[in-house]
């Protein structure tokens, strides 16, 4: 079986992460319960005729994929695999609102055409004229990991050589309202630096896109090797430690060999205890890192976690802003990522220095 390498990373998030010449050097301190992305200049990447029909999520996905291709030194790939929890909600909301407002008459095609979950994957394929395998996974907070698993299987078996893999989710006005009503979004504004001390229910919602070129050929732009990714739709809290240990064992790793654990704490008092099980249990002596105070929460935000892990491994530095504790590490060789959302759709991923 071939190894799988991350040959490029591109991340559009609530921080200026789309520019890989910096690594969280300047951090934007948010003070809100819903945060938006720091957008690159989309016009530099998307022709005006195409851009006029694209909502923000599509633009984010298309530009992140172009940045990933650029960094990997490629113009095309063998396959495109996308993960999205909510798909193109802006156009879905637009289409459904028109359906109601116009009493099911006068329906126009644009927002309907652009509203499907696989629009982003389709638009990327159109932009680069990729006629290969194109698949979109919609699995809530494991959508991104599902895309990674698919790509990894194909690359390990040498079915493809370069695959564009990513996750994208955008904020829609109505969706935000609904999630606020059911307390999935915090009712109060929260400062980024105080997210984990908020002691309230809900998360700070956001949006974003992250794409990478995964390949079974290592190159000089390679960030890391993806050793393993596993997802669990349900996972009881009491089974968490054993599951983590089993995951490491399957990868021939001892607990002490994990240099950094990246946790997806989002400040939701009802669900952060899943992370606490690991951070105050078996991984209490490991360097702990978190990121959702910078990125906010959305279904494919674990793509930000991958971006962060890839950079930690390539740059061999951990920005102070993401540290949950202070441990001395000489070399970062192995990074474990754990994420879950509202106690469901858990994922463990293991990245190695390459």
């Amino acid at each position: 079986m071939s190894k799988v390498y991350i040959n490029s990373v591109a991340c559009i998030s609530a921080q200026k992460t789309f520019d890989n010449s910096t690594f969280l050097d300047e951090v934007i301190a948010h003070d809100s319960n819903v945060i938006s992305v720091v957008s690159p200049n989309y016009k530099e990447f998307i022709p005006p005729a195409a851009a006029r029909r694209m909502a923000k999520g599509i633009k984010m996905g298309v530009v992140a994929s172009k940045l990933a291709l650029q960094e990997a030194g490629l113009e095309n790939v063998d396959a495109i695999i996308t993960g999205t929890g909510m798909g193109c909600v802006v156009d879905s909301e637009k289409f459904l609102s028109k359906l109601i407002d116009n009493n099911e008459e006068y329906l126009t095609p644009t927002s309907f055409v652009q509203s499907t979950h696989n629009t982003v994957g389709g638009q990327i394929a159109l932009a680069i004229q990729c006629k290969g395998y194109n698949f979109t996974y919609v699995h809530c907070s494991t959508s991104f990991e599902s895309a990674v698993i698919d790509a990894k299987l194909q690359l390990e078996n040498n079915e493809e050589e370069n695959i564009l893999v990513g996750g994208v989710d955008e904020s829609g006005e109505h969706t935000i309202k609904v999630h606020s009503l059911i307390n999935h979004i915090k009712s109060e504004n929260v400062k980024s630096s105080e997210l984990l001390k908020s002691n309230t229910v809900g998360a700070v919602f956001s949006e974003g896109a992250s794409f990478s070129v995964l390949s079974n050929k290592k190159q000089n732009t390679s960030y890391a090797e993806i050793a393993d990714t596993q997802t669990f739709n349900t996972l009881p809290e009491k089974a968490l430690e054993k599951t983590a240990l089993d995951f490491l064992k399957e990868n021939n790793l001892e607990l002490s060999e994990v240099d950094v654990i990246i946790l997806g704490n989002n400040g939701d008092i009802d669900f952060d205890h899943y992370y606490d099980v690991l951070s105050s249990g078996i991984l209490k002596n490991t360097q702990q890192v978190y990121y959702k105070h910078l990125s906010g929460e959305h279904n494919t935000v674990s793509g930000f976690g991958f971006w962060l892990a890839s950079n930690l491994l390539k740059r061999q530095e951990i920005p102070e802003i993401v540290k949950l504790n202070q441990k001395d590490i000489s070399t970062i060789k192995t990074v474990l990522i754990y994420n879950q959302y509202r106690g469901e759709n858990h994922s463990f991923s293991l990245l190695r220095k390459c």
Binding site: P48, A49, A51, R52, R53, N102, E105, Y106, L107, T108, P109, T110, V113
Partner: protein, 85 residues
């Protein structure tokens, strides 16, 4: 008639999301499709729905549409002659 042309230009820009185009840049006789504004078949569907919704005109013959949507001038003439609203 001039007010209707102005109204149509605004609606075309807004509904077709022509971000970089202003009303002043659309001349009354500029072709809407092809060389002029560069609209395409999806835009044509949007314009057909606009005629129906905003002016009460239902287009059933596609050949008719080709003439009507030639320019803002032709659209305005057709609407002023056929509008039921």
């Amino acid at each position: 008639m001039d007010a209707l042309k102005e109204e149509l230009k605004n609606k075309i820009i807004e509904q077709l999301n022509l971000e970089d185009v202003t009303v002043d840049e659309i001349a009354d006789n500029d072709p809407l499709f092809g060389e002029g504004l560069g609209l395409d078949s999806i835009d044509a569907l949007e314009l057909i729905v606009m005629l129906d919704k905003d002016y009460g005109i239902k287009l059933s013959d596609p050949k008719e549409g080709k003439k009507i949507f030639e320019s803002v001038e032709t659209m305005a003439s057709y609407i002023s002659e056929n509008s039921s609203k």
